[in-house]
């Protein structure tokens, strides 16, 4: 079961929700994997201090030109077909790997078999486990984009391929997604069974939630909303958000009240379920509601 945790805006509490829900599910006997898909700014390890057991370089496919085989100036099919300007003609075919999307068209199109597939490093993928207490251990997968690398979706795709392979196929996979509504988020949401959208009751939070909702509707995937820092702004704004959610028939999965103590615990990198044990019941109720809503969305054919 793949559950994504997303939000239009950064800083709404995605990672806080992801790490606490993951730890709580783990402590209550579930098999859980937390996949940190925010490869530009991975933060979930800060809260869970995992022991990394394996680090793999993640590669993206790029073309390698075998100049001896290239037909040369009369052909240039690869240069003309590449829509990303990753190949150029400068007396011979030159490649610009940082512009390459790894689509494979140049290799497919070359009539001389002069282009083969090579790869370049996008970043790393860490595998590990975090001890969550009570003898339970949480599986963790985390990607880290190389500094200066512009495209994160290929790294996210590799990460999600890992998350869809044994041993991670067993149990629940929680995906901590990047903010926004563009390609990195779309990649992170791809194939999720259900998405939890986290928002906060402010004009910025509400504006970005609308965009996130449009994204989920475009993908045709089921989702619900968690209102974080509930009560942080004037009563009126809470009403605006609630009214909108009601109007749009969007289920509210849980509410977490604004609390200075919670903010300090999060700042420290401590789990809320440890720092403020009364929040544990809220995470349990949230999970119950996610399962109910998922069952409803899939027409009752859910097997957890």
């Amino acid at each position: 079961m793949q559950i994504a945790i997303a939000s239009g805006k950064g800083g709404t509490g995605k990672t806080t929700l992801s790490v606490n829900l993951a730890a709580r599910l783990c402590r209550t006997g579930h098999t859980v994997t937390l996949a940190d898909c925010d490869v530009e700014e991975p933060n979930s390890h800060i809260f869970l201090s995992p022991a990394w057991t394996r680090t793999d370089e993640a590669h993206a496919p790029v073309p390698r030109i075998i100049q001896d085989r290239c037909v040369g100036t009369d052909c240039r099919i690869c240069v003309n077909e590449c829509r990303f300007k990753a190949l150029a003609w400068m007396g011979e075919v030159m490649d610009f790997p940082e512009l390459c999307h790894g689509c494979g068209l140049c290799m497919e199109a070359c009539p001389a078999g002069a282009i083969v597939e090579a790869s370049r490093v996008m970043g790393i993928i860490n595998h590990g486990t975090a001890d969550t207490g009570n003898g339970s251990s949480l599986r963790m997968l985390s990607g880290t984009l190389r500094i200066g690398e512009a495209m994160s979706p290929p790294l996210i795709r590799s990460l999600l391929e890992e998350a869809a392979s044994p041993p991670y196929t067993e149990g629940i996979v929680l995906r901590d997604c990047p903010p926004g509504t563009s390609c990195p988020v779309i990649t992170s949401l791809e194939g999720a069974d259900y998405t939890i959208l986290v928002t906060e009751p402010t004009p910025f939070g509400m504006h970005d939630l609308r965009l996130a909702v449009q994204t989920l509707r475009l993908l045709g995937q089921p989702f619900g909303v968690v209102v974080n820092r509930d009560g942080m702004s004037a009563e009126q704004e809470g009403t605006v958000l609630d009214g909108w959610l009601l109007e749009e028939h969007i289920p509210v999965l849980a509410r977490f009240p604004y609390s200075r103590a919670a903010a300090s615990a999060c700042a420290e990198g401590t789990l809320l379920i440890d720092a403020l044990p009364e929040t544990t019941a809220r995470y349990d109720a949230l999970w119950k509601e996610v399962l109910t809503q998922m069952t409803r969305a899939t027409g009752g054919s859910l097997h957890a």
């Binding site: 239009g8 805006k9 950064g10 800083g11 709404t12 990672t15 530009e40 700014e41 933060n43 800060i46 809260f47 496919p61 077909e81 829509r83 990303f84 999307h101 790894g102 689509c103 494979g104 068209l105 497919e108 199109a109 984009l145 500094i147 200066g148 690398e149 512009a150 495209m151 994160s152 990047p178 903010p179 926004g180 509504t181 563009s182 390609c183 990195p184 779309i186 791809e190 402010t202 004009p203 910025f204 504006h207 970005d208 965009l211 449009q214 994204t215 475009l218 993908l219 942080m232 702004s233 004037a234 009126q236 704004e237 200075r260 903010a263 300090s264 999060c266 700042a267 420290e268 990198g269």
Partner: protein, 293 residues
């Protein structure tokens, strides 16, 4: 002309709140919003859009179901899972590479120009503004960011304005790189949390990579005393000037609810703070040191 970019690595640190307050203080300027994916500055600046321009970038495959023989070759070749079972095109996953059109034996796929969003020339109460909205699920945000920067540069030249103030996107990827290259100063907004400190280190590394001078503003400084000390120590060690510290304040949310900047919300409290930040930033972009407080 000098460009000052406000970025944070991590979202939610108060980047837009601080950009808006800087917009309402300091010298005459063009304001730009390069967070094209989740633009929020317009919620405070409330600009009047004077010109809207559609933004086209890249291509997208279009399928002709009459010609399609359901052979499945395109589905097998597409590396982006953009063609689902039954040769159903999933436009939201399409990278526009054209491989499917190239391999289709029936000529059922053609490539068309892709509308990715739009950008706006506007007038706000802080001066001219250039901003944009990326379409849902669209890529090439880097190119849209570059468009916003080019256009804000043109406006500055036309109107004889010396300063461009830009609200940047979160992260360290394509949109941030497009915002950062050749800018004069990156103002890094952070907060005393483990996550923000981690992201500050990564964003500072990115500014070094592109040789852009950086300075730090510590927001919500009082939510964790120990971590605030760590941020201060990190700035000293990284040799990045810490220009200002703000405590956690209700004013931020209350001003946001009214669609106002901090400077407009409580002028006497906030204007001196942001005027002082402007003096330091301008000194840094002239290659000097920040002025003593």
């Amino acid at each position: 002309m000098r460009e000052i970019l406000v970025i944070s690595g991590k979202g939610g640190t108060g980047k837009t709140t601080i950009t808006a307050a800087l917009a309402a203080s300091g010298p005459a300027k063009v304001i730009a919003d390069c967070d094209v994916d989740a633009a929020d500055l317009h919620l405070i600046a409330r600009p009047d859009d004077t010109a809207t321009t559609p933004f086209y970038s890249g291509q997208r495959a279009v399928f002709d179901s009459e010609l399609c023989t359901q052979c499945g070759i395109c589905q097998g070749k597409c590396r982006f899972n953009a063609i689902g079972s039954g040769v159903r095109h999933r436009a939201e996953l399409c990278e526009g590479c054209g491989l499917c059109a190239y391999v289709c034996p029936a000529g059922a796929i053609r490539m068309t120009e892709r509308l990715c969003g739009e950008w706006y020339h506007s007038v706000s109460r802080f001066g001219p503004m250039v901003h944009a909205a990326l379409g849902i699920g669209e890529e090439n945000s880097g190119k849209l960011v570059t468009t916003v920067r080019t256009e804000s540069g043109k406006v500055a030249k036309e109107q004889g304005l010396e300063i461009i103030l830009t609200d940047g996107p979160p992260g360290i990827g394509c949109p941030v790189i497009a915002s950062l290259t050749n800018t004069d100063l990156a103002l890094l907004v952070t907060e005393p949390t483990r996550s923000a400190l981690h992201d500050l280190e990564r964003i500072a590394e990115l500014t070094r990579h592109f040789r852009v001078p950086a300075a730090v503003v510590l927001n919500k400084a009082d939510i964790h005393a120990g971590l605030a000390d760590e941020v201060r120590a990190w700035c000293r060690q990284a040799n990045i000037p810490l220009l200002a510290e703000f405590g956690w304040s209700d004013d931020c949310t209350r001003a946001q609810l009214l669609g106002l900047t901090l400077v407009e919300f409580r002028r006497e409290a906030w204007l001196p703070v942001f005027e002082s930040l402007w003096r330091d930033m301008l000194a840094l972009t002239q290659g000097g040191q920040p002025l003593p407080a």
